[in-house]
Structure formats: structure tokens, C-alpha cells
């Protein structure tokens, strides 16, 4: 065969190195959707003098953060080749449980309330025994129900082998139904002495930057590290790339799948809690059909529903693009009903451009 001493380094005679613009972000859907977004921002700047004002930017940042955290979660699932349709319902249910637990714990005289609150000297004002504790417990409760729903999704899909589409479609209905059951269809409101902390932590801002946006940036950075620098992240990509191969190489496929559905449910739960802080309540029909926006944003940003491709940057770019379009239509005084139509066109366009690009290579 090739007469070459063992010590000599390999020389690449017949394989050209792939050019920098043909790999990484430059060759991805995320890359050119980002480019499209930049172009759109420039157009918006010239189309409307209000677009690049501080107020509008804050508004845009806040609005896309409202779906972007859930999009990060669903991106994990999409990378493994799955789908989670229950995110919208999950947002509502977590938010509802959080505000119900908060209200319950803040009621003096209730069995649990005694541990957390006492009456002030005037006999009317309710004071917290430990400031912030009620908030903490209620958020943990809200995320707890999301965790359980995520575990059920993951168990059905990874262990019982049900299809992700059907399982999470069922979970969409189950969780939404449970929301109506626990609230009697009325929804719930955050209340009690910790409500101010709650609003500050969900819809406030730090030095003019909306809090949800800060959470989003932290979570996106964490996600980037997890996906690209841990073995869990690598296994997530491997499952989406070739599930059979992943199993044959001995990676714990069942565990990884359960974990991604739990991550997705937790992200949706957190997202719901944040939205309820902005709304000031958790109505029973909150976040209805948000799963479609979330999945659309992920797909526009370059996550491939066939699995194996996706990332936090793409998820955020997708959300920003959707929000800028929505915002732009409002500023341009176009009927907001056009938004949904345009979103659909963009989804198809983004996937189409990706198809054309991969044909050309």
C-alpha cells in the first residue's frame, strides 16, 4: 500500500481544506438569516424614525425575550430530532401554579400561610416572615410542575417509544386542561407581600435593560457552553444526527432524550412565569398557540426539524426577526393581522433558501 513511515505526519494531498466561508456559521441557515435581519434593521431605520429609539429598542428586546427563552428550550429538543408542542400550555400552567402558590402562601390564616406571613400591627397589612421566600417557593412550585410534565414527555418518548409529536400534542391538551381545572377557568393573579419582588424580577429593568433580556443572554450563553463544550451537548447532536449510530456507540440515548424534554419544559415554565409578571396575571388562556411561534422562531433561526442542527444564536435570531417584523408592521401602520401571514412566508422562505444553498454545494 502507501509506502510511508509511521512517524511521518499525514499530508493532505487529495483533500482540499474546506474554505472558511463554507463552514461554521457562514454556511448555516443561522448565518444568512442573521444577514437578512441586519438588512431588515437597516431598512427599518430608514423606513421609520422611531425604530432605533431607546424606547422602541427596549420594547423589541422585551418582546422577543418573551418567547426566546422557551425557544432555547425547544431548540434542544429539535436538535435531537424531536418536537415539543406543549410549550405554550406549559407556560400558562407554570405561571398559573406560581401565582396560585404565591397567593395561597400569602393568605394569613391558611394552613401554609402561617409559616410564611404574619399580620402587621394595624391588623390589615400582610407582612412576609422572610422577604422573598414566598417568591422563591412559588417559582420552585411553578418550575416543579414543568419538571414533572417534562419527565412524563421524556418517559413516554424515550422509554415507551411514542412519537414526540403525538406525545407532546397530548401533553399540550393535558396541561392546558389542568390549568383550567385548578383555576376553574378564571386564571390567577400574583399577590401578597412578595408580589412587588415578583414584578421586579420578571418585568423590571436594570440600567434600562429589560430583565427578561438579561435572563435570556445568561441562558443562551449557558446553552452555548452546554451544547458545544460538554459531552451531554455532543450526545444531543449525535442523537439528532444518527440516532441508531448514537445508540450503537453506547451513549445513553434514553437519558439524554428525557433530559432535553425536561430542559424544554423548564424553559417554557420559566418563560410563562416571566410573561405572567409582565401581564400582571396568569389567565387560563395565556400563551395559547405560542408553541407555534416558538417552533417557528427556532426553525427560522436554523434549527433543523430533522435533527442534528441548531443552537442558541439561531433561536435568538429567529425570535428577533419575528419581533422586528411585528414591530415594523406596527410602526408602518400595517394591520397587525398581516403579521401571521408574513411569519408563515418567512418560515417557508428560510427553509427554501437553505435547501437551495445545500443543492449548490
Amino acid at each position: 500500500m502507501m509506502a510511508m513511515p509511521m512517524e511521518s505526519p499525514i499530508t493532505f494531498t487529495n483533500v482540499g481544506k474546506i474554505r472558511w466561508w463554507q463552514r461554521g456559521i457562514f454556511a448555516s441557515q443561522t448565518g444568512y438569516v442573521l444577514l437578512a435581519l441586519a438588512v431588515l434593521l437597516v431598512i427599518m431605520h430608514f423606513a421609520s424614525p422611531y425604530f432605533f429609539t431607546q424606547g422602541n429598542m427596549q420594547n423589541v428586546a422585551k418582546n422577543f425575550s418573551f418567547i426566546a427563552i422557551a425557544t432555547l428550550g425547544v431548540t434542544f429538543v429539535i436538535i435531537t430530532g424531536g418536537i415539543d408542542l406543549s410549550v405554550g400550555s406549559m407556560m400558562c400552567f407554570s405561571a398559573m401554579i406560581t401565582s396560585m402558590v404565591m397567593t395561597e402562601l400569602s393568605t394569613p390564616g391558611s394552613p401554609a400561610g402561617a409559616l410564611f406571613v404574619h399580620m402587621a400591627a394595624d391588623g390589615k397589612t400582610v407582612l412576609a416572615n422572610v422577604p422573598g421566600l414566598i417568591l422563591l417557593v412559588s417559582i420552585v412550585a411553578g418550575l416543579g410542575v414543568a419538571l414533572i410534565a417534562g419527565l412524563v414527555n421524556g418517559f413516554c418518548i424515550a422509554v415507551l417509544g411514542l412519537s414526540p409529536f403525538v406525545t407532546t400534542l397530548g401533553m399540550l391538551s393535558i396541561v392546558r386542561g389542568l390549568g383550567y381545572v385548578v383555576s376553574n377557568g378564571r386564571g390567577s393573579f400574583p399577590g401578597g407581600p412578595d408580589a412587588d419582588y415578583f414584578y421586579a424580577a420578571t418585568s423590571g429593568d436594570v440600567l434600562g435593560v429589560p430583565v427578561p433580556f438579561i435572563y435570556l443572554v445568561i441562558l443562551a450563553l449557558a446553552m452555548a457552553v452546554v451544547l458545544h463544550h460538554t459531552s451531554f451537548g455532543r450526545h444531543v447532536f449525535a442523537l439528532g444526527g444518527n440516532e441508531k449510530a448514537a445508540e450503537l456507540t453506547g451513549i445513553p440515548g434514553v437519558r439524554v432524550k428525557i433530559e432535553v424534554y425536561v430542559i424544554c419544559a423548564l424553559a417554557a415554565g420559566l418563560q410563562g412565569i416571566i410573561i405572567s409578571g409582565w401581564l400582571g396575571s396568569a389567565p387560563a388562556n395565556m400563551a395559547t398557540s405560542y408553541e407555534l411561534n416558538v417552533i417557528a422562531a427556532a426553525v427560522i433561526g436554523g434549527a433543523n426539524l430533522a435533527g442534528g442542527i441548531g443552537g442558541p444564536l439561531g433561536a435568538i435570531v429567529g425570535c428577533v426577526l419575528l419581533e422586528v417584523i411585528r414591530n415594523g408592521l406596527v410602526l408602518a401602520q400595517v394591520s397587525s393581522y398581516w403579521q401571521q401571514t408574513l411569519v408563515g412566508v418567512i418560515i417557508i422562505l428560510a427553509v427554501l433558501v437553505d435547501r437551495i444553498r445545500s443543492r449548490m454545494n
Binding site: 510511508m4 499530508t11 474546506i18 458545544h228 460538554t230 455532543r234 439528532g240 441508531k244 450503537l248 456507540t249
Partner: protein
């Protein structure tokens, strides 16, 4: 091949497998020595894949005994077989297209560095080790290239590098030359020579007569669940092997 004095890495005695009333394998004895390349041939349904699956731990044999490096072993799952040093390179190669060559080589046994409680992937070390393995296999494969951009021969190299990583002592290759170009077949046969040089025993399951005669030291022919021939390659001919596979000649 000076193999008579070495302990066989794999020794099967009286292996039989029944699926209900169907007898898939009957009384198969065979040995594979370190550094030996054994061709396993037979028509579809001859029992080749059942035999491979028994050795790889996918099935348990109904009868018989498997000895690995001198001691009796029982495999319940493929992981058990891998633990003692048996690796299978599957026909579809079991690679993740969306990952790099290095990521595929290390899939499921990533190298990590500890940062306090967090263990992060050690990309540099994995790329360096993968490059070293590709060097040993003399394959022109870049560790950072995505597998989907690779040729069939390079993909084989990645799959084989996986087996080198775990220091496998027996590598079974299922039809490695079935779906690739002539030039790449040369590369794959070269890879098999590299494994042999390093004292790894190789079982080559193949339909392609020229490949078997090019690299194997010995050929085993299966027919209707039984071993019909087990001969050093220089004592037989493609014509005889064909006759044994088709049943024109009963046994040799």
C-alpha cells in the same frame, strides 16, 4: 502467518443458535489469532450475521462456548463484548454526519477537563489523538472536518479509528467495501493491513471475493448455518470458495 503458538484471541466451540424452530447456526467451531485477518463468507441466510451478532453480544448462543483471550465469556449486551475488546464496524458505519471526525471517534467516551464541578470537553486533546489515529491508519482525514463532507474511505477510517481508540483486540467489519469506489476499497484494505500490523485480529464479513483474497490470511465459509470450510487463503481459490458458498461443493 506464525499463529500456531499464539493464544487465539477468540475461540468458539460448538456454537449453535435457534430461533424457535429455526436453526440459524449449528455446531460452529472457530478460532481467530491476534494479527490474523479472517474472511467470513457465505450467501444471504448462511448464518454469517447471526454469528457476528453472537460474537458482538447482540444475541446469546443457544449452545456452545465463547472464549476470549483464553477465558470463557458471556455477553448479555453489546457493551459487554466491547468491554473485553470486541468492536464492530457496521456496514452503515454508525457515524453521526453532523459531527466532526474527532467527535465521532470519541463519541460516548469524550475526553474532558475538570473546571471545578464542571467537566468540559477537551477539544484540543481529542483532535490531537484523532489525528494520531488517522496517522497510524495513514488516512488523509482531518479531525475537524464534518463526516458528511467525507469520502467513503475516510468514513471507514473514522469508524476504524473508533476501534483503535478503545484498543480493541478483535475488530469485526461488516461489508466494509460494499458501497464504495475502487480507489476507496484500496484505502479500506490498507486500513485492515494497519490493524493487522498492530496485532489486532480482524474478521472481514464480505461478499467481495477479490477483497477477501487480497487481505485475508484465512477464509471461513458458512452455508445453511454450518461452517463448511476453514482454510488458509493460499490453499484455496476463489473458484473453490464460490463452489462452497453455492453448495456445488459440500465441504472442504
Amino acid at each position: 502467518m506464525a499463529k500456531t503458538d499464539a493464544t487465539p484471541v477468540l475461540e468458539l466451540t460448538g456454537i449453535g443458535k435457534e430461533f424457535g424452530a429455526i436453526r440459524a447456526l449449528h455446531d460452529v467451531d472457530m478460532q481467530v489469532c491476534p494479527g490474523e485477518v479472517v474472511g467470513l463468507m457465505g450467501d444471504n441466510g448462511a448464518g454469517k450475521s447471526t454469528l457476528v451478532k453472537i460474537i458482538a453480544g447482540n444475541f446469546r448462543p443457544t449452545h456452545g462456548e465463547i472464549r476470549f483471550a483464553g477465558s470463557t465469556v458471556h455477553f448479555n449486551r453489546p457493551v459487554d463484548a466491547r468491554a473485553v475488546g470486541i468492536e464492530v464496524v457496521y456496514q452503515d458505519l454508525a457515524l453521526s454526519d453532523n459531527l466532526t471526525a474527532a467527535a465521532n471517534v470519541f463519541l460516548g467516551r469524550e475526553l474532558k477537563r475538570k473546571f471545578g464541578p464542571i467537566a468540559l470537553l477537551d477539544h484540543k486533546a481529542m483532535a490531537a489523538r484523532a489525528l494520531e489515529l488517522f496517522g497510524e491508519l495513514r488516512s488523509e482525514t482531518r479531525p475537524d472536518d464534518l463526516v458528511k463532507q467525507m469520502s467513503g474511505g475516510q468514513r471507514q477510517a473514522v469508524a476504524i479509528a473508533r476501534t483503535r481508540l478503545s484498543n480493541a483486540r478483535l475488530v469485526m467489519m461488516d461489508e466494509p467495501t460494499a458501497a464504495i469506489s475502487v480507489r476507496q476499497v484500496e484505502q479500506v484494505l490498507g486500513l485492515i493491513h494497519r490493524l493487522k500490523e498492530q496485532g489486532v485480529a480482524v474478521m472481514l464479513i464480505s461478499h467481495r471475493m477479490p477483497d477477501v483474497f487480497a487481505v485475508c490470511d484465512r477464509v471461513i465459509v458458512m452455508r445453511r448455518g454450518e461452517k463448511r470450510a476453514d482454510k488458509p487463503i493460499h490453499e484455496t481459490s476463489p473458484e473453490e470458495v464460490t463452489a462452497l458458498i453455492t453448495g456445488a461443493k459440500e465441504a472442504a
